[in-house]
């Protein structure tokens, strides 16, 4: 993975000093609340319902064992011994103290981590496919380009006060595991007919209260133009994006208002001024970035027979099927650790688990860990021959729930229990659903289903792109839940359709059960929930849910 040189270390170190000074001036009354707001947000610090919430950046979801141990230490020393993996692959602390945040940042710097631009109206942490570099269906590793974008966007002087937040995602595989169509900018790495690398550039996707799928504005962008083209997009947005209404300030609104073609023409005009300028990427720089992501020292191993492995035990077989993925190197497998224990908020992880996962990543890999936007962790390089031994350890650690990609792999924001923006709680809804569908064979029979819960229309739980989406709404001071069906991420992304009037909290598990029964009754052999929904439409579900 990327390692800092003296430039990176100095820049992040000066950031820590800058924020320490800003915090002191704020506590001294020299900075107003209003002025301090963007300063603290751009250092990941929210003031929340119960305490500040701090969001630590995990650039494109890549972590190492040393960093996990540091996170464990931080949660113990400054928090309550646990943290939360967010839907943007970041790590959140729920209970830090404002005056201790500069110390936390200083500790993070020791392991080359930071909280830069994890919130605020700026370019946020760039996200990527959690299987980058190891996925069997990979065209090209997204991480070197993510790192190039990370450096360009870090403290970009022109784009620190945008109309609204700005999120970039990069996908280098055939199947999109980074939800690139739902980002302000989505980049898909492709190889052209001659085998040259290029980017498809999508712009103006997003969730929130106006969900939109991104528009393709460049079919085949050469890597050397990556930063100048991004800079042109941002410059158009910074000048023309709406600032009069925060709900209409995202780039998706601008692109829709102008039309994607007109927006593209404006970008091309700006681009003409800077294309081929100093910001053009050099081959040396691309190679430098790639040098940090060369494949580790894989052993030459034969491919194991997965069906034979599965004979070890029925529980292991289930886990093998659902929680592991094909690796691009023979004899290896990608393992997903499910942070979805019933009764624990989805994505929550304790200090002890952090440390145990750090140890496992060294014993069963090269000391690398990934965080996923489904709020799980990944060990990317596990020898197939070690899978059974690893599984037994994961069971002990309670991160082996064999439900990745199923109904019970719920994606969920912190919701009204923690977040001051939320209209409704989301964690108890997740738990109620997990408890209702505790029959694992039924869950497997349902097959691949994404269920996403957001506690408000800011959509941190990405409910619009859940096959089943649940959104908390406020009705005259009461918490209600709106259900939508048919959303999906990926390159054939779609936005969910609203089932109908919202439901009380206690009704939600019943409604989900009715929706699933409808699916089971109507599905054709091998048909996924999403496919059935696309074939039959929302009406049969609506009839059953409101019968």
């Amino acid at each position: 993975m990327y390692t800092y040189d003296h430039f990176d270390r100095q820049i992040v170190s000066q950031r820590v000093a800058q924020f320490r000074d800003q915090t002191l001036r704020y506590l001294d009354g020299k900075i107003t609340d209003e002025q301090f707001l963007p300063l603290r947000l751009q250092n990941g610090l929210y003031i929340q319902r119960l305490a500040p919430m701090m969001r630590i950046a995990v650039p494109y979801g890549t972590l190492n064992a040393t960093q996990l141990r540091k996170l464990a230490h931080i949660t113990r020393k400054y928090d309550k011994g646990y943290a939360h993996i967010s839907t943007r692959q970041n790590v959140q602390l729920n209970w830090p103290k404002l005056e201790e945040v500069p110390d936390i940042l200083a500790e993070l710097l020791e392991v080359e981590m930071h909280a830069v631009q994890t919130s605020g109206n700026c370019i946020r942490n760039t996200t990527a496919d959690q299987f980058s570099g190891v996925a069997a269906d990979e065209v090209e590793d997204a991480r070197p380009y993510c790192e190039i974008i990370r450096q360009w966007s870090t403290f970009h002087p022109e784009f620190a006060f945008l109309p609204r937040k700005f999120k970039i995602a990069v996908c280098g595989s055939e199947s999109d595991r980074a939800a690139i169509m739902m980002h302000d900018i989505g980049l898909q790495i492709v190889h052209d007919a001659d085998g040259n690398t290029a980017f498809k550039v999508f712009v103006g996707g997003g969730l929130g209260r106006t969900p939109v799928i991104g528009s393709l504005i460049h079919e085949s962008l050469e890597p050397k133009h990556l930063l100048t083209y991004l800079e042109a997009i941002l410059r158009v947005y910074n000048q023309l994006g709406r600032r009069d209404n925060k709900f209409k300030a995202r780039i998706k609104i601008l692109v829709r208002a102008m039309g994607a073609d007109t927006f593209k023409a404006e970008v091309e005009k700006e681009w003409a001024h800077i294309k081929d300028g100093e910001l053009s990427l050099t081959t040396d720089e691309i190679n430098r970035a790639k040098s940090f992501f060369v494949p580790p020292n894989y052993a030459a191993l034969p491919q194991q027979d997965m069906q034979a492995l599965a004979l070890e035990s029925a529980d292991f077989a289930r886990w093998l099927q659902h929680n592991t993925h094909e690796h691009k190197v023979s004899g290896y497998r990608i393992v997903t650790l499910a942070l979805k224990t019933v009764g624990v908020a989805p994505g929550d992880i304790t200090a002890e688990q952090f440390e145990a996962v750090a140890d496992l990543s060294e014993r069963y890999g090269f000391g690398e860990i990934r965080s996923t936007h489904q709020q799980n962790l990944v060990l990317p390089d596990v020898k197939q021959a070690d899978l059974f031994a690893l599984w037994k350890e994961l069971v002990e650690l309670e991160v082996a729930s064999p439900t990745v990609g199923t109904l019970n792999d719920i994606i969920c924001c912190p919701g009204g229990d923690f977040c001051s923006l939320a209209n409704a709680k989301s964690i108890p809804i997740a738990e109620a659903i997990q408890r209702r569908f505790d029959d694992i064979d039924y869950v497997y029979d349902l097959g691949e289903i994404e269920l996403n819960i957001s506690g408000c229309m800011n959509a941190c739980g990405h409910h619009h792109i859940g096959n089943i989406g649940i959104l908390g709404v406020d009705k005259k001071g009461q918490e209600f839940y709106q259900v939508s069906l048919g959303g999906s991420q990926g390159l054939d992304a779609s936005l969910g359709s609203i089932l109908g009037p919202s439901f009380a909290q206690t009704e939600v598990p019943d409604v989900i059960e009715k929706v699933l029964e409808t699916y089971v009754n109507l599905r054709q052999p091998e048909e996924r929930f999403l496919d059935t929904f696309r074939r039959v439409g929302i009406d049969p579900f609506k009839e059953r849910a409101y019968a």
Binding site: I11, K30, I148, E285
Partner: protein
């Protein structure tokens, strides 16, 4: 006489901001709105020294060839969170090759000085922070990843 920061030094300054877009001032020495300039160029020039400011929704493109006429152009920040002016600064310097004084006026804050100066601003009529203490903020960082007015090469071409 109010102090401003110019080229990272505190200095006296005679310019005053004239915000009335309808009426002409009686003397020179004012930084006037773009609209007032556009409709009264000769009258304003006859008064003596004149400068212009861009509101946050006025791109430098609107000034066009007039840019060369000014020794001072200002950009107004109605709220510090309104970051359009950062792009205007770079545009003036990089696309219009403006070489004169570029001043930030309005509600910007001390903690934006570093970024503003990297976007081409070299003078600052800072209203809401202690001006002496604020000088420290120009040194928030000693190195940056991106190219800027004072460092034409991005870090990746120098490391």
């Amino acid at each position: 006489m109010p102090n401003i920061i110019k080229d990272q030094q505190i200095c006296d300054d005679n310019w005053q901001v004239w915000r009335d877009a309808e009426t002409l001032p009686e003397t020179g020495g004012y930084i006037v709105p773009l609209a007032l300039w556009q409709s009264n160029k000769d009258a304003l020039k006859a008064l003596g020294d004149v400068a212009v400011f861009l509101a946050s929704d006025e791109s430098p493109k609107a000034l066009g060839a007039d840019i060369a006429e000014f020794e001072l152009i200002a950009v107004d920040f109605p709220k510090f969170a309104d970051g359009r002016g950062f792009s205007y600064g770079r545009e003036l310097r990089e696309q219009f090759a403006y070489k004169g004084e570029l001043r930030a006026i309005g509600d910007f804050m001390r903690d934006q000085l570093y970024f503003l100066s990297r976007c081409g601003f070299n003078s600052f009529a800072l209203e809401n922070s202690d001006i002496e203490e604020s000088l420290a903020s120009f040194k928030d960082f000693s190195e940056s990843y991106q190219p800027s007015i004072d460092q034409r090469l991005p870090l990746f071409r120098r490391r």
